[in-house]
């Protein structure tokens, strides 16, 4: 057994002997000269407990054992840097300064550098007379050194060397034992480095993925949105979701899943998410968006495949249009009711066919309904059919009262605490019921005006206002909101409020901001006030130091 190990990793004997140096090849070491008690201890260097350790503690543990076995004063491990040009001191016993000072030496120079270059053991009988670059070795008073290369499958990992404070003539047996130890620890180091590299890639992938997902979801009045993303336990995948405000007051919700794992999948995900968003913002309907996306995937070099679903929601009509490229069907939860899956006729996954047609389906989201899009990591359970996963999803979201509630229930019931085998992403959007009393608090940003108008229209319709009244009251309120946004004066985030009530046909809307009312400047704002006053029966402007309230009333025609 020992022989086999020794021969498999036998190194060529180096040439070019220097003064005071003895080159030893492990191939020249006969196993029967190795002392049995040393061998058994070296074997313990490879015990399973070591394989799970991080690199630094692993190296330190190994050094301690080697120091003891060979009865030496110093042990050091130098590992090749990522570029493969220099050896860097990574762990040492009796030579801790080497590590602390970050000692490094190019391959080929100095003692360790020559071992690396020759890929063969080097023995220095007396340090003072040899070519030793490292001042620490001299300062420490080390007299004799023996070093061997760390090699795994012909790849040089680094150098392992031991030293003594008294002159010692290391024997061929010592060299064989050290090389055997090196051959034993090298795979453990390699494993640990690979593990760390993988962990680094995983972290990088997760970071990339996170950076490619929306950093925040849009705050949509009357349409609360919530989403969650859980990276896979071992490898980052290419799941994504997106929510966007579209032209003409529609909302787009997208979800997708790039086939495969790793940074490549995450990068393709980023491209697809951006492209989908671009097509969506151009106003394309779901089937067209997916067709374009499929064409785009075709054009990407080394293209991948992805499944995706995209839905647009017209909140004024309550209608949902959606299409699917090989993606699992959307779910709809109803507060106080059963959850259901929407019927889809999914087309081919993106990138699967050079030309794919997608069928668009329509559904209605009633007041309170919650739309849930998800990736298959959520419903594809180990050793269970997809139907079981889907049934569990419906069960989890049944009775959810809000988007966030639905997400929390999914996390509680379906997401493994230690992470899934696959990425899991889901996004929920609720068509929240219109409350009898309206209260909106919004950032003072012109971009929210569309939402304010849509909410006002829905609210006024629910209060029984005729179409013409709805438009005119919305116009007057819009002017008041524009004023609030213009006047909002705050160093940080400024907000404004819209409060509405309707009592026996009398509609009251108050718009409050945190700025000072300013006398209308120019004809533009003057016209705004004119519009408010012509539309509403009453317009009262109450300007206080901390903010302005515009109160408007209008009696609806009987």
């Amino acid at each position: 057994m020992v022989k086999g190990e020794g021969n498999r990793t036998a190194q060529p004997v180096g040439s070019g002997l220097g003064e005071g140096q003895v080159f030893l090849g492990t191939g020249s070491v006969a196993p029967d000269t190795t002392r049995p008690e040393q061998v058994s201890r070296i074997y313990r260097l490879n015990d399973p407990a070591l394989s799970e350790m991080e690199l630094e503690p692993l190296l330190n543990e190994l050094l301690g054992r080697i120091k003891e076995i060979l009865s030496v004063d110093t042990v050091a491990i130098l590992l090749l840097d990522d570029k493969g040009e220099e050896l860097v001191a990574r762990a040492a016993r009796g030579l801790e300064e080497e590590v602390e000072r970050g000692f490094h030496i190019p391959i080929g120079s100095g003692y360790a550098g020559r071992i690396a270059a020759e890929r063969a053991p080097i023995f220095i009988a007396d340090v003072d007379h040899a070519d030793v670059v490292n001042p620490i070795l001299r300062q420490k008073g080390i007299r004799s050194l023996l070093g061997v290369p760390l090699i795994v499958e012909a790849d040089l990992l680094g150098v392992l060397h031991v030293g003594t404070l008294k002159p010692r003539t290391f024997t061929n047996e010592d060299a064989a034992v050290l090389q055997l130890a090196a051959n034993r620890v090298a795979p453990a180091i390699e494993r640990s480095r690979l593990f760390q590299a993988l962990a680094r890639e995983h972290r990088a992938g997760v970071m990339l993925q996170r950076s490619l997902l929306p950093d925040r979801l849009p705050e949509l009045v009357g349409l609360p949105v919530a989403a969650r993303y859980f990276p896979a336990r071992d490898e980052v995948g290419g799941d994504w979701y997106d929510v966007m405000e579209l032209p003409r007051g529609k909302i787009g919700v997208a979800i997708g899943d790039v086939v495969g794992h790793g940074i490549g999948a995450a990068a393709l995900m980023g491209q697809l998410r951006t492209a989908l968003r671009a097509y969506a913002l151009d106003g394309y309907e779901p089937a067209e968006v997916l067709e374009r996306l499929n064409r785009l995937v075709q054009s990407i070099r080394g293209r991948g495949m992805a499944t995706a679903a995209y839905a647009t929601f017209d909140k004024e009509k309550g209608t949902l249009r959606f299409a699917s490229a090989g993606h699992p069907p959307p779910a709809v939860a109803r507060p106080g009711g059963e959850a259901r899956l929407l019927e889809t006729s999914p087309g081919a996954p993106l990138g699967a066919l050079s030309y794919s047609k997608y069928v668009e389906q329509e559904a209605t989201l009633e007041d309170g309904d919650i739309l849930i899009l998800y990736t298959d990591g959520l419903v594809e359970l180990r050793e269970q059919s997809l139907d079981v996963g889907l049934a569990r999803l419906l069960e989890a979201v049944s009775g959810a009262s809000s988007s966030d509630h639905a997400c929390r229930q999914i996390v509680r019931d379906l997401v493994p605490p230690e992470g899934g085998r696959d990425d899991i992403a889901f996004v929920a959007l609720q068509n929240a019921p219109v409350p009898a009393e309206l209260l909106l608090r919004l950032p003072a940003d012109p971009g929210v005006l569309t939402q304010v108008r849509e909410t006002l229209r829905r609210w006024l319709r629910a209060r029984g206002a005729p179409a013409r009244e709805i438009e005119m009251i919305t116009l007057a309120c819009g002017e008041a909101c524009s004023n609030a946004i213009e006047h909002a004066y705050s160093p940080g985030a400024a907000f404004f409020e819209v409060e509405g009530s309707a009592d026996d046909g009398l509609v009251t809307v108050a718009v409050r901001d945190t700025g000072h009312w300013r006398a209308p400047r120019g004809e533009n704002r003057g016209r705004g006030l004119t519009i408010m006053e012509s539309v509403m029966d009453v317009v009262e402007i109450d300007s206080k130091p901390l903010g302005t309230e515009v109160l408007m009333r209008r009696r609806l025609p009987a």
Binding site: L475, G478, S482, I485, E486, I531, S534
Partner: protein, 109 residues
Amino acid sequence: MIVANLDGEIDMSNARRLATSIADEVTNDVLGLVVDLTEVRYIDSAGIQVIYDLHERLNKRGQRLRLVVPPDSVIARTLDLVNASRAIGIVDATETAVAAMASPGEEPG
């Protein structure tokens, strides 16, 4: 002559951008501008300001502006509230606007 077909809703969030993109199209050599608001479902004072600004700018260069607004539409009622319909030439169809603009001797818009 330039015809600008607008749709959607015009408010302070997009009025300035709209003004720029229309103004960029109206070069010195065109006879005038027809802004078709038939498909527009909302316009507020910021949007109306854009129309006034265009009107003034075109007037200075001897060009004309016509708005196409369907009668009894939300836009027509909104423009009426601020008497914009009196100041700016409003017609109910693009063809009418184009024909009126093409015939010389009309009063400047």
